[in-house]
């Protein structure tokens, strides 16, 4: 159905479609035939008899049937955009489109994914796009579903990730059934998410729908990438199409913007002349080629690299990777270039959470700052995810991954081999080695403890997957970043970075979508690894059911510290400021009494699971068993009871 799908259908095919629907209706539910998509109609012109039949008055029975509705056309639009998946929690505001996706579209390209909460339906798309590098769509119930899904849209917005959010609605008041349908309709459904979407529209005709949906995709995938929304009017979707159907505009291939050559040349000169250049990365790399270029740039310059971890930007064990020594290298820097790093201020300044906020530059006076990226200029004003303003000497607007190859060539011709540079590289390499050994030593503490130490947890997981084609799907901050410190991370898809808006629940929902994208990788065999905090997971435990239902293999390991641990520390801080007991910080933050049995929870949703495991010696074997299950094509969960961080 995907390839060569004819998107220029006409009303006269209705007879063919109705015939197919009739055949399907006659079969038993669940039979293979009932799920077979309708046969692709022939493209022959209508015969005179057909034309005559269409103009004749309809018999009574026919009057209650629709030949082809707007929603069928909408499916054609989605097919033309080659959207692989539409994730949804069902809702009546888009029932027409739902039915068309399944029966008319044959539930393929796009395939409907069943989610049990809109946060999952939207958030899946976030993780999916970070692996597949293309958007998927979510189909969200008007008003109420939007409110459930909106945080996940915000996370994607702040993380500069493309996605198409389709919102159900019923615009004409006379079309709304009294009751729920009024409560689920809005004048302007996208209003509530407009501050964190790049573009939206509420089309009032099919032609308008086609044009705006194609445009929405174009805008979402242009840099800086971000979510977009299309409100799907239920009355437009459900109404029979009368007359000629509008053609569907083509989605052109857009090239990412490259920085201005003159400015890149200037940057190359500044970097080449630097005595201690530092490269700061955040959401900088998307592909293996991009990664190779980033490594080549650092090596050509002999620059220290500070990876803020918004994506997998630099090999973890490359000697120029000085991320855990950021303070030391930034203090030594005379030129710093941030590439797609939108919190340069927070990187080059220390900022202490004390009663009196203290912030000091880490860099020395006179340091030259260069910024290269597409998110230096905020697109919206209300939500403050753009971080603090940082003045720079040279601000180059351009996509990092696209501009770096050019910058690299310029650097190569500007940089001279010098003993100073070689000396610097040697020193950085030695510092890396010392740091690596220090971190390995640090990981030994609490190694045999129960609850399980976090370094032990993370390294046991590594032991279980390191000979596989593994890919981490969730952020590592709450795991003291042990994976980026000690795992050998060499491929761009092996770590997806932080969640953008820091909205709790991201790790779980994005991991599900990332796992789906990993499943689709040609050749297969990837082992998605989601190490999830209990607080994050309980925002969206139903990811397990969706993973089981759609057979999405993924290894889920609960970093179960039985608390919203970050918040305990915040409340403690407040108590300490008043010299009031810190013990009270457990109230409202601890997830104990009763303890949640995650293995039981997983099993109830059809996911194989083991736990709770609090004996570190038992963790490795359990993980091996779980990895075997994942390799057989299913999700598996291990509940590890852990130290806080």
């Amino acid at each position: 159905m995907a390839e060569g799908f004819d998107v220029k259908r006409r009303g006269f095919f209705g007879a063919v479609a109705a015939g197919a629907a009739g055949a399907a209706a006659a079969t038993l539910p669940g039979s293979a035939k009932a799920q077979t998509p309708p046969a692709k109609p022939s493209v022959a012109a209508p015969s005179a008899a057909q034309k005559a039949a269409e103009s004749e008055p309809l018999p009574a029975m026919e009057a209650t049937l629709i030949k082809r509705s707007g929603s069928d056309y909408m499916v054609d639009v989605l097919k033309s955009l080659k959207i692989d998946y539409v994730a949804t929690m069902p809702g009546s505001t888009f029932r027409g489109l739902h039915e068309s996706l399944v029966n008319y579209g044959g539930n393929k390209v796009p395939e409907l994914l069943t989610c049990l909460h809109e946060e999952v339906a939207v958030g899946m798309g976030h993780g999916y796009a970070k692996v597949a590098h293309k958007p998927m769509a979510s189909l969200i119930h008007g008003v109420v579903g939007m409110q459930h899904g909106s945080m996940a849209i915000y996370n994607a917005w702040a993380d500069h990730v493309p996605m198409l959010v389709m919102i159900g609605n019923t615009l004409p008041s006379e079309e709304r059934r009294p009751g729920a349908e009024w409560a689920h309709s809005a004048q302007d459904n996208a209003a509530m998410i407009r501050d964190f979407t790049k573009w939206d529209d509420a089309p009032v005709s099919l032609s308008h729908f086609a044009e705006s949906t194609v445009r929405a995709m174009q805008i979402s995938t242009a840099f800086p990438q971000a979510p977009v929304a299309i409100t799907v009017d239920g009355s437009l979707a459900e109404a029979e199409i009368a007359g000629e159907e509008p053609a569907i505009p083509k989605l052109g291939r857009a090239s990412p913007p490259m920085g201005d050559r003159g400015a890149l040349q200037e940057a190359a000169k500044m970097l080449a002349a630097a005595s201690f250049p530092v490269i700061v990365l955040d959401r900088s790399v998307r592909s293996e080629a991009g990664l190779a270029n980033m490594v080549a740039l650092a090596e050509a310059l002999g620059a220290a690299v500070v990876d803020k971890g918004g994506r997998m930007n630099f090999p973890s064990r490359h000697p120029l990777n000085q991320s855990t020594r950021a303070g030391a290298v930034l203090r030594a820097a005379d030129v710093v270039i941030g590439i797609d790093a939108n919190d340069l201020f927070g990187t080059i300044n220390s900022y202490k959470d004390r009663i009196h906020r203290v912030s000091e530059p880490l860099t020395k006076t006179g340091v030259k700052l260069i910024s290269l990226g597409t998110f230096g200029t905020p697109l919206r004003a209300n939500f403050q995810d753009f971080q603090r303003y940082q003045a720079v000497d040279l601000d180059i607007v351009g996509d990092g991954e696209t501009s770096v190859p050019v910058l690299l060539e310029m650097v190569r011709s500007a940089v001279a081999t010098s003993t100073a540079r070689e000396d610097r590289v040697k020193k950085l390499g030695a510092a890396w080695q010392t740091e690596y050994d220090r971190l390995r030593q640090a990981a030994t503490y609490a190694w045999d403890e129960s609850p399980i130490g976090v370094s032990r947890l993370v390294m046991e997981i590594y032991g279980a997957v390191k000979h596989e084609d593994w890919a981490l799907t969730a952020p590592g901050t709450f795991l003291s970043n042990w994976a980026s410190k000690l795992w050998d991370i060499t491929k761009s898809y092996q770590y997806l970075g932080e969640g953008g808006g820091y909205g709790v629940g991201y790790s779980s929902v994005a991991s599900l979508g990332a796992a789906l994208a990993h499943k689709d990788v040609p050749g297969g065999g990837r082992i998605p690894v989601a190490i999830l905090g209990d607080g994050d997971f309980m925002c969206a435990p139903s990811i397990l059911w969706t993973a089981a239902h759609h057979k999405i293999p993924m290894l889920i390991v609960m970093h179960n510290n039985r608390a919203y641990h970050q918040e305990i520390m915040h409340v403690q801080r407040m108590a300490a400021r008043h010299a009031r007991p810190l013990a009270g910080a457990q109230i409202g933050t601890a997830i104990t009494s009763p303890n949640i049995d995650y293995a039981m929870l997983a099993k109830s949703m059809g996911v194989s699971a083991e736990g709770p495991i609090d004996d570190p010696a038992k963790l490795g074997p359990a993980l091996q068993r779980a990895v075997a299950l994942v390799k057989s094509g299913q999700p598996a969960l291990i509940d590890a009871v852990c130290q806080p961080r």
């Binding site: 390995r440 030994t444 503490y445 609490a446 403890e449 300490a576 810190l582 013990a583």
Partner: protein, 114 residues
Amino acid sequence: MRKITFAAAAMLLASPAFAADAPGDAARGKQLFVDQGCYTCHGFVGQGGPGLRLAPDPLPAEAIAAYIRNPAGEMPPISAKLLPDQGVRDIQAYLASVKKPPKLADIPLLKAGE
């Protein structure tokens, strides 16, 4: 004895006399380490996390008291009202009782280059 960090050493010099009292009680110290919330940032056995590693081989009680009552960094100040000298001594005794971790060389999962 572990090397005293610069921050902790500076505080030690500036601190008022540390009340000489009963020796530390490790069992009580373990309870205090949890109740006073030290474990959240330093881990249940003081292995470190958002806060520094405190054990094994902890700082002397005087240095701990001096640091926590007037921390130089992001650690929230823990006043003597919340944790009197005796409590600090107990915590120090607990941290001193934490057994050493296995040797790095004996942990295959932490082998260099693995």
